[in-house]
Amino acid sequence: MDLKEYFSLVFNDYTLRTITLGTAILGAVTGMLGSFAVLRKQSLLGDAISHAALPGIAIAFLITGTKDTNILLLGALVSGLIGTFWIRGIVKKTHLKSDTALGLILSLFFGFGMLLLTFIQKQPNANQAGLDKYLFGQAATLVESDVWLMAIVTGLCVFVLLLFWKEFKILLFDADYTKTLGFNTKTIDVLITSFIVLAIVLGLQTVGVVLMSAMLLAPAAAARQWTNSLSKMVFLAAIFGAFSGVFGTAVSASQNNLSTGPVIVLVASVFVVFSFIFSPSRGLLFKQIRFIKNRRDLELHKTLAFMHQIAETHQDISHPHTVKILNNFQGYTKGTLKKLVDKGFVIIQSNMWSLTEEGYKTAANLYNQQTDSNE
């Protein structure tokens, strides 16, 4: 199946439509909430939470004995929340730093989860197969009710975001100020963290424990490069996330042996790399271009200043000099000289150059205006 065929199938084929819709919704909601995680410098929290959710899935299965997605995800949610609040407890009450706390919870919960999973596998219960899909996720197992669940959670999430937009925003950028304004920062904090946990848990079935953190970060990190406004960033991140979901599903469906999760993550990474390089204001490419342009301007200024020094010693500023005396000067090339001519600062006659009136004035004021003219 190639990509073209895929896109025609999306509208007809039930399974493909469900999966595409599911990954798109998932990408959108994780992108939105991921923006907050990234801006709050909690990027790795997602990684820790998704790993911490694993024992919850196993315990939920051990208790209920069913593989009902909703019950397993509920277990994941509880265990993810316990992990999150334990991390906060460690950071707040001991001198261990947040990276240590994250690594601790991540590895310990995951290890415990794996212990339970292997324990379950040895049990004489035919129902246990397939729990390990939560490790790497299997988008193919998405059914319509899962997509509905995702859609409902996303709707709820959008509603809460809109309702508490002001509170979230102010907490994000100035937590102390928020407190002095009388907002209950703890509640807002718990609310946004819980939603992040919820989004991560939703994605476990599709992308899996190991790669979930990238779903949270990548769209937000990409969106961050294009704007400085929070609302635009959240919106862009949702779009990037949704597109990563759709493209990832498309690519993995059009090839054999490709699991969806890693492909979605790779597509999202491509978005990030593209944004890092090509974003107009922050991107590396334009930064480099600006850098080169500034350096050229500086060299032009140096040449002009040097000419000015020579011209100063003569009564007549337009007195011609040979080009040769510029040769032992660093900033000078034929190109820069030509540029100066184009700007009307210098006149060239055969091998001689002379400053124009305008060029002399500009050169004289070059360093006085430095502060406003350099960009």
Partner: protein
């Protein structure tokens, strides 16, 4: 106990020691999550190495994987340096991407790769003794034992040779630079050791256990001591203890050894986290309560010193005016009395001579704003703490 069991426990203990040493420094340098990143992102290196050698224990594979680990660190630092995103975001972007590449490479070549992702994440310690190293026809022991042994020896040499440099650059980068050590060399040295250890250990115990074995013993030890040497020794002991104990729990449950060692590590950390003297959560909560009462006491004494009129010094006034609950005012009053700072006559509270001196000194310290000294002063004056 048969010889395979002894070998498994020996390998697990060596892995624990090899991880605990770099782990201690990672925790102290606030780079614990780097170990998580490395443990995931070495996957493509392992896969490529496996394509070339078709042998999971080949040294080339270890070198390639370790190289991927270092590339991860360099990439993270490069992204961080561009200033486009924060450091933690950079880590969170790099390793899932590399890991995805690894997973896809495995999936695309599923037919000729006998490499299971579950095995990468979890490892299978139980099979380690069956893969023997045979030199000139004689069986010299499991391959994994040799690999991790060599890595441990290299780590130990690195530690002993550069202990001073590591110590200084960990705690004071500026001082290290001014003394002429290059923090960059020490940094990348440590990163290389961590990568190599991760790779060497991953085959036996899996990527996640490597992270757990690096961070957990060090974090638990950090809650118990502030001395670097003691911390190293403690984390090694914790590591070995969990490796051995975890093995027997796995044996009993018939479950994954790696998972069980991690669980024991988790329980160990939980115990230390709760009960560590001074740094444990119970000690911290107790101290916070103590300090709250003592701050109330000082506030109360200041109030007494400021007011001569009887109405302000009535016991009941505490409840009404300062808005304290009954229990709280009772504790504060009792504490003050026990320490001979106040006397109560007909429900009127007045400062004793000692209380008066203490309060004046307390004012001095509050005015000069030297928080630390108030603790010394409390030691001088208090017979009983709050």
């Amino acid at each position: 106990m048969n010889s395979a069991q002894i070998e498994i426990q020996l390998i697990a203990s060596l892995v624990a020691v090899a991880c605990a040493i770099p782990g201690t420094f990672l925790v102290l340098r606030k780079m614990a999550m780097i170990s998580d990143a490395i443990s995931h992102s070495i996957l493509p290196g392992i896969v490529v190495g496996f394509f070339i050698t078709h042998d999971l224990n080949s040294p080339l594979l270890i070198i390639l994987a370790a190289l991927t680990g270092i590339i991860t660190v360099v990439l993270v630092e490069y992204i961080q340096k561009t200033g486009l995103v924060k450091e933690d975001t950079a880590i969170g972007l790099v390793f899932p991407t590399l890991f995805s590449i690894g997973v896809i490479m495995i999936a695309k070549n599923a037919n000729d790769v006998h490499l299971d992702i579950d095995a990468v994440l979890l490892g299978e310690l139980a099979f380690a003794p069956f893969d023997r190293l045979i030199i000139a026809g004689t069986d010299v022991g499991p391959k994994a034992l040799w690999i991790i042994g060599v890595i441990l020896i290299v780590t130990l040499i690195f530690l002993l040779a550069f202990f001073k440099e590591l110590k200084v650059s960990t705690f004071d980068k500026g001082l290290a630079t001014s003394l002429g050590f290059s923090p960059a060399i020490i940094h990348y040295g440590l990163m290389s050791v961590s990568s190599v250890t991760t790779v060497g250990a991953f085959d036996a115990v899996g990527a996640i256990l490597v992270v757990a074995l690096m961070i957990t013993p060090a974090a638990a030890a950090y809650l118990l001591t502030k001395n670097l040497k003691k911390m190293l020794v403690l984390s090694v002991i914790f590591g070995i203890f969990s490796a051995l104990f975890g093995y027997w729990v796995a044996h009993w449950l018939d479950a994954s050894i790696a998972g069980s060692i991690t669980t024991i590590l988790g329980l160990l950390f939980l115990v230390v986290y709760l009960f560590a003297p001074n740094k444990g959560i119970i000690a911290v909560l107790y101290r916070e309560k103590q300090q709250r009462t003592e701050v109330s006491l000082i506030t109360f004494l200041l109030h007494l010193k400021n007011h001569d009129e009887k109405s302000e010094r009535h016991v009941k006034h505490l409840n009404e005016h300062i808005n304290w609950q009954k229990v709280r005012s009772k504790t504060v009053l009792e504490l003050a009395q026990k320490n001979n700072m106040i006397i109560i006559n007909n429900n009127i509270v007045s400062l004793t001579k000692k209380g008066n001196t203490f309060t004046s000194k307390a004012i001095d310290y509050i005015v000069t704003n030297e928080d630390a000294q108030i603790e010394d002063m409390k030691d001088d004056f208090f017979l009983f703490r709050g």
